[in-house]
């Protein structure tokens, strides 16, 4: 939880009325949980970028009475100088990998930094010469600043590797939509892709992931005439087939 350590310190100070003095540092340290490691999806493919692992990290900045405060993890990363060294470890995520079949179509739904694994997917599939089609549904605040890896997606679209690109910008005049809205608008096409065998990947915040799931359920009810129970079962079936995978945080 970014910023959590700081607010815990503030609460502890208020509760204990602690000032400076012998034992304060020890008492303070004891009140803190150890910092949890941060897990990020890698936004690049080894086939494309070799021994470089690209990460998409949103800097968490919260207003506090003492002024703006950056998240412990993202703030640390953002403050690193070029060439700085960092301790990292790999945590494989077997539940969120590319399908083995290169001809399978992909529908990728994400918001914010949730775009990271999809960039790695496209790099990998481009390098492998995969024949499957690709559709990115992506939501962010503003195109101008927040469409992560925009140049890559535009290039892939021009080259015909990205067959469909559906975007929602929630803070942009004339749009003010979320990725779930695009999902609903383009529902007929989306179901056609999935029913044609496409694998659906969802990555981003938990709320977005739940919103996407709700929208999918609605689509099945509205466009396929399923009951709510049948719709839930259909999603479950896709999951079981490995064609509906989520990575939410």
């Amino acid at each position: 939880m970014p910023g959590g350590g700081w607010s815990r310190v503030c609460r502890w100070r208020r509760r204990s009325g602690a000032g400076h003095g012998p034992g304060v540092a020890e008492e303070l340290a004891a009140a803190l949980a150890p910092l949890a490691p941060r897990l990020y999806s890698i936004a690049s493919s080894r086939l494309e970028e070799g021994e470089v692992a690209a990460l998409a990290v949103a800097l968490v900045r919260t207003a506090t009475p003492e002024g703006p405060r950056d998240g412990a993890g993202s703030g640390h990363l953002a403050a690193l100088a070029e060439g700085a060294r960092l301790r990292v470890f790999w945590e494989p995520n077997p539940r969120f990998r590319l399908p083995a079949e290169d001809e399978r179509d992909l529908v990728m739904v994400g918001a914010g930094t949730g775009i990271a694994p999809f960039r790695a997917f496209l790099q990998e599939r481009a390098a492998r010469g995969a024949r499957g089609r690709h559709w990115l549904l992506y939501g962010a605040r503003r195109r101008g600043e927040d469409f992560l890896y925009q140049l890559d997606w535009l290039r892939w679209r021009r080259r015909g590797l990205l067959h469909r690109l559906s975007l929602a910008f929630s803070r942009q005049r004339g749009d003010r939509a979320y990725v779930q809205d695009r999902l609903r608008e383009e529902g007929a096409e989306l179901l056609a892709w999935i029913e044609g065998g496409a694998a659906l990947y969802v990555c981003g915040g938990t709320a977005m992931g739940e919103g996407v799931e709700a929208a999918l359920g609605e689509l099945l009810i509205r466009l396929r005439g399923l009951s709510p129970e049948e719709a839930a079962a259909r999603l479950q079936a896709w999951r079981a087939e490995g064609r509906y995978r989520r990575d939410l945080y």
């Binding site: 195109r143 101008g144 600043e145 469409f147 992560l148 890896y149 925009q150 140049l151 890559d152 997606w153 535009l154 679209r157 690109l165 975007l167 929602a168 910008f169 942009q172 005049r173 004339g174 749009d175």
Partner: protein, 561 residues
Amino acid sequence: MDGTEVERIKRESRRLRGTLAESLADRASGALAEADQVILKFHGSYQQDDRDRREARQAAFLEPAYQFMIRTRTPGGALSSAQWLALDAIAERFANGTLRLTTRQAVQLHGVLKEDLKPAMQALLREARLDTIAACGDVNRTISVSACPEAGALHREVLALAARLSEALLPRSRAYLEIWLDGERLADSGEEEEPIYGPSYLPRKFKIAFAIPPRNDVEVRAQDLGFVAIAAEGQLQGFTVTVGGGMGMSAGDPRTYPRLAVDLGFVAPEQVIPLAAAVLTVQRDFGERRERKRARLKYTLETMGLKAFRAEVERRAGFVLAPPRPFGFAGSGDAFGWIREPEGAWSLGLWVPGGRVADRAEARFRSGLRAIAERHAGGFLLTPNQNLIVRGVAPGEREGIAALVREHGLDLHERLRPLRREAVACVALPSCPLAMAEAERALPELGARLERLLERHGLAEVPIGFRISGCPNGCSRPYLAEIAFVGRAPGRYDLRLGGDRRGERLNDLAGENLEVEEIFARLDRLLARYASERRAGEPFGDFVRRAWVLPAAAPLEEPTP
């Protein structure tokens, strides 16, 4: 993009539609498809990007910060107060919060994002009653008219004629209505008859101006087609017609050059529209279409020869031109301060720094002009030198407006030396895609530096026409200035010297691709000589031709075929 490609895009655009609607709807990019960038110009807008941010954005995997410039079609620069207030509000809502006055008496909005283009166009039409049709592109652009309210009824008559001519020369395509205003698509959509332009429009931009002597603020000989008002006892008799002027050139290509227009003949007021249509169609049919930098009317005229050109125009217009009538100009600058209009009202000429209406520390032009427009119903007149005139001020109103002017610091013309008051700069960096060097942003610094130089030589009060252009295309009409800097690279300019102060003589290259330091060193030596050797009342531009190394300017001659 070469000429053939632009021609193909125009021809296949289905009367200026292209795939603009699709480009506008594409959420993935702030830019338009390349062909649509060409088409958009005919709708009065240019795609640009913030060049200051290019590198940082590229490093962040983001496309350039694309944004659009929107230019109004405002013949003669006449705006009502209500229109001004609407423009001011639109600049706040959809653009960067400033208005830019141009040398063609248009208003430009800058920094408009793609998704705001359509709402901005709609607001312009519905709230400001202004369209932007043909404000850019290979068509007749906004028509300039001398901003001389002191000419009273004559000025108003010419202004009205310019507005009628502008209407008559509009493309007939309804693409503008369909794309920006959700206008209905009719049966002939995409195949509308274009009696003047045809399916490929003109080979290049086309500029028309009306000059009202003795004022030559429009610099009529810099225009493709000029009309010089000839009046007798305040009554308009007609116009001496000039053709073949143009500022633009391409650096390093001697086949391109700025050129002054020559006299073609004389027309009565009712012949203006047919004459202009005839000149336009001659240029349409005879103009160069493979090489854009050779496509302006000035080159067509030189290729055809004036005699053949005139004969072709007369044949198409259906009448023979009378011989040109003589006229004389006193100057190409603006008048500042209070000017009396013949019917008893007053006009107030204000100097707008760099043509940029913004709230800055030295003067709060945006707030000030808004306050004036709120109180005063008479409206504004934009000048071809990027300044502004408050017109139709009743004697009883003067006091109140003068107070607003003082309160907002709009009386810069009283506080400034003549050099900066006359200086003109084009927009250039960071938004203009053509700019090679700074212009508008560098004007305050370079102007102040030149002023200090003049001061050192005891010339502080001597008016000298100074212009900066960010590239050789010459939007600030640098080729007519006494001193001009024409951008070649960051911090490097061509130095040009020797224009007159009436817009009737081109200057000459005095140094190519020089560092600013070198330019000032040369000017320092020249101004020292000017201070000691000039004759009484001799302008700097005349002095350099008489006493320095520049040849005398070639007299205006009929071009040879």
